[in-house]
Symmetry: C2
Subunit: 476 residues, 2 copies
Amino acid sequence: MRNLTLLTDLYQLTMLNGYFEKNIHEDIVVFDMFFRKNACNGGYTIVCGIDQFVDYINNLHFSDEDLEYLKSLNLFSDKFLEFLKDFKFTGDIYAVPEGTVMFPNEPIVTVKAPLYQAQLIETALLTIVNFQSLIASKASRVCFAAQGDPVFEFGLRRAQGPDAGTYGARAAVIGGCSATANVLAGKMFDIPVIGTHAHSWVQKFDTELEAFQAYSDIYPDKCLLLVDTYNVLESGIPNAIKVFDEISKKGYKPLGIRIDSGDLEYLSKEAKKILDKAGYTDLRITASNDLDEYTISNLKSEGATINSWGVGTKLITSADSPSLGGVYKLAASYKGDILEPKIKVSEDPEKINNPGYKKVVRIYNENNKAEADLIMLHDEKIDDTNPLTVFHQTYTWKTKTFRKYKIRELLEPLYLNGECQYNRRSVLEIKDYVKSELNTIWTQYKRILNPQVYKVDLSQNLWDLKKNLIDSKKFL
Amino acid sequence: MRNLTLLTDLYQLTMLNGYFEKNIHEDIVVFDMFFRKNACNGGYTIVCGIDQFVDYINNLHFSDEDLEYLKSLNLFSDKFLEFLKDFKFTGDIYAVPEGTVMFPNEPIVTVKAPLYQAQLIETALLTIVNFQSLIASKASRVCFAAQGDPVFEFGLRRAQGPDAGTYGARAAVIGGCSATANVLAGKMFDIPVIGTHAHSWVQKFDTELEAFQAYSDIYPDKCLLLVDTYNVLESGIPNAIKVFDEISKKGYKPLGIRIDSGDLEYLSKEAKKILDKAGYTDLRITASNDLDEYTISNLKSEGATINSWGVGTKLITSADSPSLGGVYKLAASYKGDILEPKIKVSEDPEKINNPGYKKVVRIYNENNKAEADLIMLHDEKIDDTNPLTVFHQTYTWKTKTFRKYKIRELLEPLYLNGECQYNRRSVLEIKDYVKSELNTIWTQYKRILNPQVYKVDLSQNLWDLKKNLIDSKKFL
């Protein structure tokens, strides 16, 4: 396992050194990770990457080489570097299960730990969870647009480096993709891999027909042919049909074709006509070439006869929205036995964090549809035998009362006193969980353009705490 | 070193298996990597990541675990998997030196190797070089906008995974950034790291003033204070000045302030006024918060008094253009001793590749400014004692004749018969080379919006070859 202990911003370490010098490094604090806007301009976000965050925490240690490097920076006291030698995470971490659908401003990871530990892990937590959540969310949007057709992740060559390609493939499958072309991701995460041939295969042979024949010789039972090396309708499809006829005679069932360029709507419709006429009515017609949820929606609504989608660059980079802005904010700090809530004020009201040690509760109706989330203080309880009234955070006169409802606490213990509580699931299990999560969400939140805003409210206690803290200017 | 041998698309391996079965896997072929559009909608692209590509090639081998995994896919013959056991790159690779400024359609890496080797390495080459070239190019644009002010790379938490943050930081420094906040990148690549403190430091203390005092106690000679936790002008700057006064009395020179939110133009101007009035006229005024080359240009032109820039998300992801579309195309294939040029035709003329085994020559004027590039066949020569006329690829009547000029071949041997010819340079050496490269390029190609298009022409021989190949439909 890679040692990612130094995968952090330098200021985390200068602060750690400062906390240590001021002897406040052992103070217990509470940090929350949350995001302010959903991934991909969408109506929800799928939390992903918890598995890799656990690997990171489990492997957190400063090697001799790390310490030597830090010493060379001439920023840290020897005593501090000596202290880092025994670094081990000993705190509590709560996180939502990987694959949970979450909304803005809700804690998705809450860390309660000695200050120096909670501070150090900020950057890696954000790097890992921001990216995978972004790609899982993007993939779920692309799959939503594909209306049940299989979507394949093809983006490795345009990914932002090897990890982005590999963890991105993992996240894409969790978000709904059927398989990836990335072999390493297949091996690392036990997820389905897919692949046939490239244009270079066709170019290598003297003619396209010879290339197709050679391919079908070797993979007669997996014969999916790329038909756009020269000309889809005049060359690719006719040659493919010749080969399909040949293997059909030998008792094999052709798989289909792939089109990687040109006008996908027109070409797919024409290809379908020709294939149907030749008796191949149920082939896979795969399209690839700069697709995303918007182009797929468009092609679908124009009646393109594509029934399988290879999505590359724009999925693996989430091209139109290539980052999820997850942040990690100090929410509380113990002074002796007293937990002091902490706030970061900003001229931009959206940037004011929710103070205190908190939890998140999801309210479901009788049909298991999520109706609203409630952020509460950690020790608050809901009596679900009584009606529950929630109110809007800004327009507080907007209220909603639930009478028949179920509640679920979303944050679960990941570490308690440094002990890992995490039950690892396979990627395909997490993918199934995402599917069930998405089933609990009304379609209006899944809409690709201008989704409805899901209700995330604060409990009265938390709302009062926040208001009082903003009003009191004592933090200035 | 990580084993990235399986960092490839599955179709590369299904093709390899096919070539092997058809016994054409040892045929010598030529592939080119090139891009069709510059990175970041700019006028040039800085090639970056060659170092990591060399690491990849040097470490290329199928481990027992890799082969076991491939066997489990039930796609490959045992004989083929046995063959992969001894996989070793034995061909030639030519590449431009890392940091070279390049333009669309020019080969930046050319591979001449047995088919199965040349095919396998496509994906990893593209993953590695596309991303780092993207970020180096983005960084150079951001630095161009900053007009000589130092630019710091702050993006790790929003990077697309650990590699993106780390190799991205490397590329950002190569492209012109002064330092990165990413400690792991600092250690791995021996590049400067930078960092002070976060909002959480300020929040942890009872008052902002106490937090600043604590910071200056520990880092009196590195006192750069983040002033926007509560209110920049009413709290942050006045408190910073108190602390600057205290450390000044002790003989230390304050470093400056950082503003991470709000109206950076207004705040920087007001902050500068207050600081000047207090006698601190030469402090570093650092701004961060969703900056890129466009916002920096704007702030500069509006007279913002920022003189140091922390650039995060939008640099490390190249947010407005998050991929470089580098491709890898078969250009030629030996049939016995005869080198057959290969072409991929497309309805989109820009997607037709330049066939044949090629090289790239840059033409410089007497003042060492690059005037045009010429893509030629590998064995063509230029007699630079004679005038040289180049012509436009589409509008062939557009010609330009050079009389006094120097030429330089851009592609250099990286591997010859599998032997590595690469001379590793440090990241800071490559950064210096980029600076000298950018000095050879006229400003109109560096303009941030609507840069001029640099001339990339074909030699007459190559142009004829391409035209004949398109005209002959024999490849259909």
